[in-house]
């Protein structure tokens, strides 16, 4: 019983394995079947988990916007997303005129699959992970890129101008923000010397956000852009493109895009906390894996909260600003950061950790300050010249006259 509480997943895996072996399967077949069952449960669990995410996000966004959020169905409206799920399940699927059948129907499936397949390489605890393989990080980046394919397929298949324009924008944005993301990921890889996610988590005696806060910041921003959330939600700008690439979708096909969006937002929080916040590491996590699971959940929930907070508080970028921000700021900044970090770390080999970390911190701070000075200087020079007379008549507030003044 204690064994089960310490590490339920490994316990269940072992139990399943022995059961399957008991049924007369060969060892290999038993392992593969066990993995398939585990994968099925994990993927279904992830998709069901989205209902909670949607509820939490709606509640929080509601509070930020001074509303209650869902509060009718069940205590605190916790069953609201389940009611929505049932409703969206029995909605009609409309096939727009002139649609391209295969891309149109494959897009929602692919967008969910692209996010779900990322979960296989994320270590949730010391013993709980799908596959621990030596190119994990590269795999995550590559699979994350599949979502872009789904978006362009949806835009093309819908036979709708808004959808196509939204898809163009979305893909341009996603591929652009992939560049700084991939480059900043070099820093955790350099610090650990491995692409395996488990190794990266294991080697974080000091969280990498402390070693390289600027890399963490750039990674966070580009990941939020990858999800296409506010302030980067110009791919589905309601005021310009109605709702972007998924205008023509209805019923559960639309729901799948919704699921993919929320699941992706949570997945980036998982990734961020695994790469920069030490993943499942914490006091006692090695011995009692369930503790590591709890630490990981807390860390990634905090990051997810930050993502929601960002969504609730920042206005949308304009499309050219979004592109400029990436290509003229984030990309050069991440390249410079990688160069300086590589040089500094190599020059400091053999020195103790307590020298290396402050030096890297100062380096990060200096790069950030330099970038900040350059950007503000640029905008100061670019400030539009004032034309016309400043002292033109404007409506001024005049206090109402008192009775005595009016009569006198």
């Amino acid at each position: 019983m204690i064994d089960f509480l310490r590490d339920p997943i490994a316990f269940l895996t072992q139990w399943l394995n022995t059961t399957l072996l008991g049924w007369g399967l060969s060892e290999q077949a038993a392992q593969i079947t066990g993995f398939a069952i585990g994968a099925f449960v994990a993927a279904t669990g992830a998709m069901m988990f989205v209902t909670i995410l949607i509820w939490a996000e709606r509640k929080l966004i509601g509070r930020i916007q001074d509303r209650y959020g869902p509060n009718r169905v069940g205590p605190f409206g916790i069953f609201q997303s389940i009611a929505d799920l049932v409703k969206i399940f029995i909605k009609e699927h409309i096939d727009p005129v002139g649609m391209d059948w295969l891309p149109f129907n494959l897009a929602p499936v692919l967008s969910v699959a692209a996010v779900l397949t990322m979960w296989v390489a994320i270590p949730f605890a010391a013993t709980v992970y799908g596959v621990d393989f030596n190119v994990g990080l590269l795999y995550l980046v590559a699979v994350g890129g599949l979502g872009e394919l789904a978006v362009i397929m949806a835009g093309w298949g819908s036979n709708n101008k808004y959808a196509l324009l939204g898809a163009f924008r979305a893909v341009a944005m996603f591929i652009s923000y992939e560049v700084p993301m991939v480059i900043t990921l070099l820093i955790p890889v350099m610090l650990t010397g491995s692409l395996s996610m488990n190794d990266i988590v294991r080697q974080q005696d000091v969280w990498f956000i402390v070693v390289s806060p600027l890399a963490a910041l750039i990674f966070f921003i580009s990941q939020v852009a990858e999800v296409g959330r506010s302030p980067f939600d110009l791919t589905e700008a309601e005021s310009e493109l109605v709702s972007g690439f998924n205008v023509e979708y209805s019923g559960l096909k639309f729901g799948m895009f919704y699921v993919a969006d929320f699941l992706h937002a949570f997945t980036i929080s998982l990734l961020f906390s695994a790469l920069f916040l030490g993943g499942w590491r914490g006091p006692g996590a090695e011995e009692i894996p369930i503790l590591g699971f709890i630490y990981f959940a807390i860390k990634s929930s905090l990051v997810y909260f930050l993502v929601i907070l960002m969504r609730g508080s920042l206005p949308r970028f304009r499309v050219d600003h979004m592109m400029d921000f990436n290509w003229k700021l984030l990309t050069p900044l991440s390249l410079v950061l990688v160069v300086l970090t590589a040089l500094a770390l190599k020059l400091m080999t053999g020195l103790s950790l307590w020298v290396q970390i402050p030096v890297l911190l100062v380096l990060n701070g200096l790069v950030f300050l330099m970038a900040q000075r350059m950007v503000t200087g640029f905008f100061r020079r670019r400030r539009p010249r004032e034309v016309g007379d400043r002292s033109r008549p404007v409506a001024h507030y005049t206090p109402p006259q008192s009775d005595s003044e009016a009569q006198g």
Binding site: I32, P96, V112, L164, F168, M190, A342, L343
Partner: protein, 118 residues
Amino acid sequence: MLRDWLYIGIFLLISLFLPAAAIIMAALLSPRKPNPQKNDTYECGVETVGESRVQFKVQYYVYGLIFLVFDVEAVFLYPWAVAYNQLALYAVVEAIIFILILLGGLAYAWRKKALEWQ
């Protein structure tokens, strides 16, 4: 090693199957009453003008090219980053020169106004 990829294949199949099964199930459960007005392409209430599959801006193509350069670069840099701890200063400087050449390429694209949204 190969076993890992088998597992990933299984996971990929399952994660493709789950949403597909849900959509098929919903399609069987949901009503189906199409009519020409409902199925028409949505364009803010007016009838669609011209071809729906519009041409894309050439700017997207330029961004795609720049992206390709940097993504290929990243693929070159990852093995370097993995081997970083065993490398001598010389090899690190070489990679840095490689990155600086790329930064030069970015500066060139910038000067040529390829990064300007028109």
